[in-house]
């Protein structure tokens, strides 16, 4: 009962954050239960039911091969979540390692690393992601890798800044006096102490990551047919836009809602953990 009251208080105090959390929860649930909740098989062709408008059999209509759009959106949640979490996961991991090493070592290594990061940030992110993903070869995995690489500098800068201040703290100085190896200091002191801001940044970054992944799929560099991926579905639906509006519309709404969920939640997490952003 007490927990319920707390939940109610929380919902009242942070309505947007809770809305975000609920959206994320629903999307995760739907993607996990995809085989149970999707009314049709997302890959089964049914040429007699091509481009059917939304109706009682196909709630959101069908595509040009007669596949059920609702079922494909449900399965698409898996790919988008995978993309979002995969991108911030890879970028965060590399960011933590590179940033903490660079911050701790300082000097020439640090300078070189930071210059490289500055140069990567000199590209508009979508443009660099596009070029990298084209160079790696157009598929879903490579598009995730490309976006993750483009996002690494964000985490490197964040972690390095943290590492610079942590390495001046007493406990690190003490460890150094006792002759602790650098690997030990990085893994036992620096990384654990800079995780909180990385988690906040990662939470905030998932929405954007999902958006860029869908964008690359839309322009043909991400998930390839017949994958049920939201951006790719909008891309195909574009051909039929003026006569079969539902095809491009619904997968786009799915992206929109999911990204809003992550952005609301991410904003809320940041506000709660960082008092500077309150109000």
């Amino acid at each position: 009962m007490a927990q319920f009251r707390y939940l109610r208080y929380f919902t009242k105090r942070y309505p947007l954050t809770v809305t975000g959390a609920v959206i994320i929860f629903l999307v995760v649930m739907v993607s996990l239960a995809a085989p149970l909740v999707s009314p049709h098989n997302p890959y089964t062709l049914n040429l007699t039911d091509r481009l059917k408008p939304p109706g009682s059999i196909y709630l959101l209509g069908t595509d040009e091969l007669g596949r059920d759009i609702l079922s494909r959106i449900i399965y698409g949640a898996r790919l988008s979540l995978l993309a979002g979490v995969g991108i911030v996961g890879i970028a965060g991991l590399f960011g933590i390692v590179i940033g903490s090493v660079s911050g701790l070592l300082g000097g020439k290594v640090d300078q070189a690393v930071m210059r490289l990061m500055d140069i990567m940030l000199a590209f508009p992110s979508l443009v660099l992601a596009l070029a990298l993903s084209a160079a790696l070869g157009a598929n879903f995995r490579n598009s995730i890798l490309a976006i993750a690489i483009v996002k690494i500098p964000v985490y490197v800068r964040l972690v390095r800044g943290q590492a610079l201040s942590i390495k001046e703290r007493q406990f690190v100085k003490a460890a150094q006096t006792f002759g602790a190896p650098k690997v030990w200091i990085i893994s036992r002191h620096i990384i654990p102490n800079c995780l909180a801001p990385v988690v906040v940044q990662a939470t905030l970054g998932i929405g954007e990551a999902i958006l860029i992944a869908a964008t690359l799929s839309f322009i043909g560099l991400g998930a390839q047919p017949p994958a049920a991926e939201w951006g790719a579905m909008v891309s195909m639906g574009r051909i039929y836009l003026l006569d079969q509006w539902w095809y491009a519309s619904f997968p786009g709404i799915a992206i929109f809602i999911t990204v809003i969920g992550f952005n609301l939640f991410g904003d809320g997490v940041r506000d709660m953990l960082d008092p500077r952003f309150r109000n």
């Binding site: 979508l126 160079a135 990204v259």
Partner: protein
Amino acid sequence: MSQLLIVLLGVSLVTFLVSHVVPGDPARMLLGQRADAQTLENLRHVMGLDKPVWLQYFDYLGGLLQGDLGISIRSQRPVLSELLTYFPATIELTLFAMGFAVISGVGLGLLSAAYRDTPIDHGTRVLAILGVSTPLFWLGLMVLLLFYKHLGWLPGSGRLDSFINPPTQITGLYVLDSILTGDWVALKSSILHLVLPTICLGYIQLATIARLVRASMIEVLEQDYIKTALANGIPRYRIIYRHALRNALIPTVTLIGLTFGELLGGAILTETIFTWPGMGKYVVDSISFLDFPAIMGFTILVATIYVIINMVVDLLYPILDPQIKG
């Protein structure tokens, strides 16, 4: 200036890595999987791929300095000259989107700072979250569906109606050229064609600008000199426009440089959706032809423009804010 050169050198290093090292075998990438060994070997030699990597980089850099961005696979023409034919269309769209985003973004930011915690303020907050969450490519399609198909208010593709001749080329920006040549028919048509792509492209950035202006305005409004002005009985609107706004706009200038990069990136999508004949549409078309030199040429050109714009913004900064010495 030397800093600009270092960054541009860095940019060339990154594009070199992406185009020569990441793909593993650029020659194979150009010729496709079915090419025979001899042709492959010949091309590797012609492209200098049998040389050490650092030598390849110098060749590449030398080429870039002479404006050599490679040959397009699709058209067999130099990539640079292809890009330059599409360049004015992209710049026109980007400038309009920028104008739209900055004017309405600053306006909204100002309103929400002046009317803090009122429905106006909450409204821009919602708009900001929607702005960063909307897939630009989907927004474009929805706008097209509503304003072009259902309402029929505005054209949905191209830069001019098909029966109108483009204005005499001076800058390549149709709006400017038709004003300069007094071609009012083309002017009307080109402005109408700009409306939808401009709004779509600018909308995503509008919210970011509005939030920044709001934050920096609120910070300024809490300064002592504002309180002094208030205590002296100067009317509130006058304080906002004469005292606060000027100081609050300084951080926004930096954002404008950054926004330009985002807009150039966004142009890829907007141009594709609205069949706007610019560099963005060109690069997306190149993707389906696996025209890698074209993709890389676009990347280099956009990064260079982006770096230069940000450098110009940095130079403007001390002029706008005398407290900062350049």
